[in-house]
């Protein structure tokens, strides 16, 4: 003999009697040891069974066993009056093994040739978590939470507890809990039932910068307090709420605190009990709000949008100038402007100013000039008029043209002309004529 290499147990298979579907030979003593992976049980179904029928399956028989215990002994065929046929009902093993033993004697009826049996089996996952609690007082599979998995199970613990090394029972351990979601629910270990004594749990709520945390305790608040002359004090049991840059506050008693608006994105809760007394604990819902920036203000000759009742973290405002004005900041012109409410409750940029635009000096006119009619320093809506040096030049078209500084920073005439006019020479008109009075 030599050792065969280990192989993974099959998840399914088939078993047949010798020579099946030919009649089985006499004097057989065959045994099949079926197995599937741990955490599974075997379900076997006979697709055909035809074994010499006898009372109590005395002569030929197929015996199904689990761990030495007979689950069934079968012979006969579907329609036989005697014998014991499994029919279509599958047989489920309690564990991951199953043994089949097929015994035949030396005498087979001549008139009927029995063909034996054919069966198929498969692995079925065991839901260990649904097993009833043991009645013998032994410990349950998992002390708190049982999670069934394929072929196995996992134990888990409620918040404030952690799994022991036995992977089955839980021990109180509520430190290091960090809650970073924008909203959530916290409660003391075992709440609403009293936790074990000498609890020291820390809960840290730490959300993104730009958000502030509010704590809202539920009604059922119970932390033991001690009555003194100065009133109840949180002497042995307390829940301490610590907000950065503020004095920590200890909570206890039988009445829930009101809504606590922390104005901070970080809150630390320390729950402490000693070995004596009893506190049922507490639970709370926390929520977050975006920080609020100051009202952005107004811009002369401009518009700040959108107009909101309050401006919160990540809100944007935009500034647009009125027609004829341009955005300016630190002496630089801006194409556009927006500023965002930051996590520190400040706008990331101060508001710009709107300055009136100017069109620059009007294009000079060769052999002519330009006269300011109205406006100031070539600014928006200033009006200039071109003229030619008469009488030697005249405007092409002959009509004086006014140009206005428009919002696009171009000098435009009433006819939407951008280019400046042209002076054309006057021909054939001397300023002085030859006089001839003599006749």
């Amino acid at each position: 003999c030599w050792r065969l290499p280990d192989s993974e147990p099959l998840m399914y298979g088939e078993v047949q009697s010798p020579q099946y579907p030919q009649p089985y030979p006499p004097n057989l003593q065959e045994q099949w040891d079926l197995s599937v992976p741990e955490g599974y049980q075997i379900r076997i179904t006979f697709t055909h069974l035809d074994i010499e029928a006898s009372a109590g399956c005395h002569y030929d028989a197929l015996t199904v066993l689990y761990d030495g215990k007979v689950l069934g002994k079968f012979c006969g065929h579907e329609n036989s009056a005697d014998g014991h046929h499994p029919g279509n009902h599958p047989i489920l093993s309690p564990g991951n093994r199953l043994t089949l033993i097929f015994l035949t004697d030396d005498n087979n009826p001549e008139r009927h040739q029995n063909v034996g049996f054919s069966a198929q089996y498969q692995a079925i996952d065991i839901d260990e978590c649904s097993a009833p609690e043991p009645g013998d007082g032994s410990d349950p599979l998992c002390s708190q939470i049982c999670l069934n998995t394929l072929g196995s199970y996992l134990c888990s613990c409620h918040h404030g507890f952690e799994l022991r090394s036995d992977q089955r029972t839980c021990v109180l351990s509520c430190g290091g809990g960090i809650f970073d979601e924008p909203e959530g629910h916290l409660f003391s270990p075992g709440y609403p039932n009293p936790p074990p004594h000498a609890v020291s749990c820390q809960y840290i709520i730490s959300v993104e910068n730009g958000f502030t945390v509010s704590l809202n305790f539920t009604d059922n608040f119970h932390i033991e307090s001690v009555d003194t002359l100065q009133g109840p004090v949180c002497l042995h049991h307390w829940l301490q709420v610590t907000i950065p840059n503020r004095e920590p506050m200890k909570l206890c008693g039988g009445t829930r605190p009101g809504l606590i608006v922390t104005n901070s994105n970080t809150v630390t809760l320390d729950y402490h009990t000693d070995n004596d007394g009893q506190s049922n604990g507490w639970s709370l819902d926390y929520s977050t709000n975006r920080v609020r920036c100051p009202f952005p203000g107004n811009v002369a000759k401009g518009r700040v949008t959108p107009i909101l009742t309050e401006y919160l973290y990540r809100d944007y405002v935009y500034v647009r100038c009125e027609q004829g004005y341009k955005l300016m900041m630190d002496g630089q012109e801006l194409d556009s402007f927006s500023t965002m409410c930051q996590s520190n409750a400040q706008w990331h940029l101060p508001l710009p100013e709107c300055h009136i635009i100017d069109c620059g000096e009007p294009e000079p006119l060769l052999n002519g000039g330009v006269t300011f009619m109205s406006g100031f320093q070539n600014q928006y809506l200033s009006v200039v008029q071109y003229h030619c040096n008469e009488p030697f030049y005249s405007l092409l078209g002959g009509v004086n043209v006014s140009f206005t500084c428009e919002a696009d920073r171009k000098w435009r005439s009433n006819n939407d002309i951008v280019v400046s006019p042209t002076c054309i020479p006057v021909c054939g008109q001397p300023t002085k004529h030859i006089s001839a009075y003599q006749r």
Binding site: F392, P425, V426, C427, G428, Q429, P430, K432, I434
Partner: protein
């Protein structure tokens, strides 16, 4: 100018004085970069060189020391001008000079208008011809004047002029021919005429208070003689060429 008068300042502001290799000629301002003159004034001479041609404007008197020429950039003689060495063919006697720099006009320098499309030359209509050419003192003595002179002359009927030239040809063999690109101006009794040194200068007609360049002083047989007329290039025939030349250059 024979039989004319001295032009007061600013009365003929388009008048140009050309000095081409020492020969005096005339011209007229027609744009801030363009002078019009007679082809025979500039033909066969390297006129674009500033050593060869000097151009003066705004003058009524040529005074040493006060002359400030403007410079030519290019000269454009009419392509059909074919006056050969015998100097008898004055047909198409027209040329343009482009200046290097544009001129700014004022009361002493101003362009003369070009003829309107379809402008007519009405016989008897008085024109104004001017120049720094020879004049005539007492006793038929010809002298070159340094003062701009002008004379008013009527447009002569084409046939009348043609007949006068035919008559001249009977006694002189080297008289040029009159073409439809020319017209005549003058008086049959003589004494008033343009003359040597006036060539290329303006013969203007006036209409609605504007002077337009009807003719360019071109040629004539003698000056101011009885029965002869001055012959001028008919500018109205060259409007297309003038505009084309200016646009292309």
């Amino acid at each position: 100018i024979i039989g004319g008068s001295e032009a007061p300042e600013n009365t003929i502001p388009w008048q140009v004085l050309l000095s081409v290799q020492g020969d005096r000629g005339g011209g007229m301002v027609i744009g801030d970069r363009w002078i019009m003159t007679a082809a025979h004034v500039v033909k066969h001479k390297e006129v674009a060189s500033n050593d060869v041609i000097q151009i003066y404007m705004g003058l009524t008197e040529i005074k040493t020391g006060s002359l400030s020429p403007v410079f030519a950039a290019s000269v454009h003689v009419h392509p059909d001008y074919n006056n050969l060495d015998d100097a008898l063919d004055y047909n198409n006697d027209i040329a343009l000079i482009k200046l290097q720099d544009p001129i700014t006009f004022n009361s002493s320098i101003m362009p003369v208008c070009l003829p309107a499309e379809g402008a007519t030359y009405v016989t008897g209509m008085m024109g104004l011809v001017s120049g720094f050419g020879v004049t005539e003192a007492a006793g038929n003595t010809r002298i070159l004047t340094n003062k701009l002179k002008y004379v008013h002359l009527p447009v002569v009927e084409q046939e009348t002029c043609s007949n006068s030239i035919t008559l001249l040809k009977r006694t002189k063999s080297d008289v040029p021919s009159l073409t439809n690109n020319m017209f005549c101006a003058g008086v049959p009794e003589g004494k008033k005429d343009s003359c040597q040194g006036d060539s290329g200068g303006p013969f203007t007609l006036s209409e609605d208070g504007r002077f337009w360049a009807a003719g360019i002083v071109s040629w004539g047989v003698n000056c101011g003689q009885k029965g002869t007329y001055g012959v001028y290039t008919r500018v109205a025939n060259y409007l297309d060429w003038i505009n084309k030349t200016m646009q292309e250059n």
